[in-house]
């Protein structure tokens, strides 16, 4: 029971904030609205017994990415253009597409008999994840780090002021 209540509260938080992110006319408000979205998702992770991922989610998403977005908003003109139109002319079609997709997905998801699997998650997932990264998923680990390096360099180069 408590789990269900927690789930509903967290979902509402997440979805409501997401709605704000998506529909707000003020770009800064929508950026800031990302935070509760991400935090809601963190809660959902914890509900799903993925506390390490939840921690990383807060760190990266709510911490780094949101800040990054805010930086860019400030550095570009977006923050000052309060009176400009924020949505383009595709709103009806976009809303239709999104709605239809949502319907389709929900219909599929709720209609499918998902297979029940055996086994159970470990209580504390941090150590097993670390172990997994260094044994079975080591290649992904290394490549991801390489991608990080490249994108870091790339971002610096792209955003550099031309001389």
């Amino acid at each position: 029971m408590g789990e269900l209540a927690a789930f509903i509260i967290l979902s509402v938080i997440t979805l409501a904030s997401a709605v704000v992110v998506v529909t707000s006319g003020n770009i800064v408000r929508s950026a800031l609205s990302l935070v509760p979205t991400f935090l809601g998702i963190t809660g959902l992770y914890i509900l799903l017994q993925a506390e390490f991922v939840a921690g990383i989610q807060v760190l990266i998403y709510a911490g780094a990415i949101t800040v990054l977005i805010l930086f860019v908003i400030m550095l570009t003109e977006g923050g000052t253009g309060l009176r400009t139109r924020q949505v383009n002319e595709q709103v009806p079609l976009g809303m239709l597409a999104a709605a239809v997709l949502a319907l389709i997905l929900i219909a599929v998801f709720s209609g499918t008999e998902w297979p029940k699997a055996s086994g159970s998650l470990p209580q504390y997932t941090a150590a097993p994840i670390g172990e997994a990264f260094l044994t079975s998923a080591v290649l992904i680990f290394e490549i991801t780090s390489l991608v990080l390096l490249v994108s870091l360099m790339g971002a610096i180069i792209i955003a550099r002021r031309e001389r």
Partner: protein, 647 residues
């Protein structure tokens, strides 16, 4: 020698070829070559004559030219008495005229061509005479017709000369059609063209009793062949071309229209005499005689009122040819041929003399002449000899031959004898009228300065005059009539000589001369009075019995009308039809062009426009905005999902 007879036409033919090819570059601009050719033929003819005198058997040589189906066409020659006489006449008289032409045609710009034509004519005439079958003879016949046309129209810049040439050719052509029909008739009934075979078959009775269209075949064939002779010898009713043919140069008139070509008709009748003789009741012969008689008398009357010296001689020729036909027709085979021989010499002489006069006076009108006897003695004396020969005065040539004809007529057909006698009277009258107008008295024209002609012209005149004097004696009865012995027809007996008749004919001739002298020399009866007395008769005769006008209206005009009608039909109907096809083609082509431009090209263009239009519309999809593309993708994915879901 007689085996070489085929060379006789070859010499002048070679001359013709040489002159045509080389012309001016030849010696004497071709004249000497032509004269050499004819003289060579003359010598060969004399040689053959001498040979034939000794051995009078006919000689034939045949060369098979080709086979037309079953029918063989031969080129063959026949040399017998008749041929020999004709050869002599043509080549000897021809030689004289050729030589005369050297002087007469001296300044003419087409000098070489004249001699080329003359040589061609000589070759053709000799061919005609030598032929041993009707086809070959017809070939020669047509060739001489062609040469006559070319030579009459020699001065073709004159429209009158061109017209005269056409008239001659077409009129003789009418006769030639009849002749060809006769040839065909003989061929289809007897199956051969050769004289020898035809005459043998006929005398053996091949055509006796046969009729065609109700008439006896033999008579019809003979009369048809005579039709050709009527045309060529200018007998009534096809005589109208000869007076107009005087437009040609005088040597031409002498050679062709007096001595030789016009005599070809007489020769033809003589050659085909078997046919005429064998025709039932000898009706064909009668036809020949009557036509001859009519022509003789009619032409003589017209000659009396002519003022052009050459026309007098032309009508005289018609008249004398009529006499020859008359002679042949009444059974005087030898008499007719004898007169042909003598006539050739003295008529050629008269024409050449007239040419000499014309050359000096530069006019043909005798009313402008006068007193030329003193200025041109050679011409005068030779002309006088010729006139006496024509009139039939003893001892000149004409006396003997004409007398023989009158003799035959008197015995066989008295009516025609009267005709002949009248003709003789008129002949003497008109020729001496010419002499008195031309040579005696004083010169009437004030512009002319006549002088005697050069020796090259008077020489032949004297030669012909000599012949005209003596040649009569070959038919003289007191010398045994060697001509008759040489040339006669089996089955026809010559009438024995009658001195009374001879005297009578002489008297008639003298009367004619006397009458002429009375009117024109001593001027006892003025010519004006005579004309007024004759009145309408004079008008009729002066207008040549209106025959030319009759022919013009009855024949020439309808034929021209038909020709014009056909021409219009051709231009407006046939050409129009052809043009219609052409226009139809053009129209169709235009239609195709339209179709091509608007429909075919249109289709292609429409495709282009469609693509362009589609592109023009579809390009707006490329907004350049990534979000639009993204939306499209999203919608596409959703559609795919939906179809996958609801399958």
């Amino acid at each position: 020698m007689v085996e070489l007879a085929w060379l006789i036409p070859v010499f002048p033919l070679a001359a013709f070829a040489l002159i045509t090819a080389f012309g001016r570059r030849l010696p004497g601009e071709g004249a000497y070559v032509a004269v050499a050719g004819i003289i060579a033929s003359a010598l060969l003819s004399i040689g053959i004559f001498l040979q034939m005198l000794g051995h009078p058997t006919p000689y034939e040589a045949n060369f098979r030219w080709m086979l037309v189906g079953q029918l063989p066409l031969d080129l063959g020659i026949r040399v017998d008495a008749l041929t020999t006489v004709m050869l002599l006449v043509v080549t000897v008289v021809g030689s004289m005229i050729f030589i005369y032409s050297i002087g007469y045609m001296h300044e003419d710009p087409r000098y070489s061509r004249f001699f080329a034509y003359l040589s061609l004519f000589a070759a053709s005439m000799l061919l005609l005479v030598l032929a041993n079958n009707l086809v070959f003879l017809y070939a020669g016949w047509e060739l001489v017709g062609l040469c006559s046309y070319l030579l009459i129209g020699f001065y073709f810049e004159r429209p009158s000369a061109a017209r005269a040439a056409m008239k001659a050719f077409i009129t003789t052509r009418v006769g030639d059609v009849f002749m060809f029909l006769g040839i065909l008739l003989l061929f289809f009934t007897l199956g051969t063209f050769r004289f020898e075979e035809i005459f043998t078959k006929v005398s053996q009775g091949a055509l006796t009793g046969q009729t065609i269209g109700g008439l006896p075949t033999l008579t019809v064939a003979a009369v048809l062949i005579f039709g050709g002779a009527v045309g060529k010898s200018a007998q009534f009713p096809l005589h109208t071309w000869l007076p107009d043919a005087m437009e040609g140069p005088t040597p031409v008139s002498a050679l062709i229209h007096a001595a030789t070509m016009v005599a070809a008709g007489v020769y033809l009748v003589a050659r085909a005499y078997t046919l005429f003789f064998a025709s039932p009741g000898q009706e064909a012969l009668l036809a020949v005689a009557y036509i001859g008689g009519i022509s003789a008398l009619m032409a003589a009357t017209i000659a009396v009122v002519q003022d052009d010296i050459k026309r007098v001689l032309a009508y005289s020729t018609i008249s004398q040819l009529g006499l020859m036909m008359l002679g042949l027709g009444v059974g005087g085979y030898t008499a007719g041929m004898f007169h042909l021989t003598t006539h050739a010499f003295f008529k050629a002489l008269l024409f050449l003399g007239a040419g000499s006069v014309i050359h000096a006076m530069r006019t043909n009108d005798i009313k402008q002449m006068g007193g030329l006897a003193k200025v041109m003695p050679s011409t005068y004396w030779t002309f006088l000899i010729g006139a006496l020969a024509l009139s039939g005065i003893f001892p000149f040539a004409g006396f003997w031959s004409k007398d023989e004809i009158l003799l035959e007529a008197f015995h066989n057909n008295p009516a025609l004898f009267v005709v002949g006698a009248l003709t003789s009277f008129l002949t003497a009258f008109y020729i001496f009228r010419v002499i008195f107008y031309t040579f005696s008295g004083t010169l009437r024209s004030h512009d002319a300065h006549p002088h005697e002609s050069p020796g090259v012209m008077t020489g032949p005149l004297w030669v012909l005059a000599a012949f005209s004097t003596v040649i009569g004696f070959v038919g003289a009865p007191f010398l045994g009539n060697p001509f008759h012995a040489f040339l006669r027809f089996e089955g026809v007996e010559a009438v024995p000589f009658s001195p009374t008749l001879a005297l009578a004919s002489l008297a008639i001739a003298a009367a004619g001369i006397g009458a002429a002298a009375v009117v024109y020399h001593w001027k006892i009866v003025p010519a004006q009075a005579l004309r007024r007395a004759a009145g309408p008769l004079h008008t009729l005769v002066a207008n040549k019995y209106y025959l030319d006008e009759l022919y013009a209206v009855a024949i020439v005009r309808p034929v021209l009308w038909i020709a014009w009608a056909l021409r219009n039909f051709d231009v407006y109907v046939i050409d129009a039809l052809v043009n219609l096809f052409g226009l139809a083609g053009v129209g169709l082509a235009r239609l195709y062009r339209l179709m091509d431009t608007y429909i075919v090209d249109g289709l292609v263009n429409v495709v282009g426009y469609a693509v362009k239009g589609a592109g023009g519309v579809l390009r707006y999809v490329q907004t350049g905005r990534a979000q639009n593309y993204l939306l499209a993708i999203a919608l596409g994915v959703i559609v795919l999902l939906a179809t996958g879901l609801f399958r």
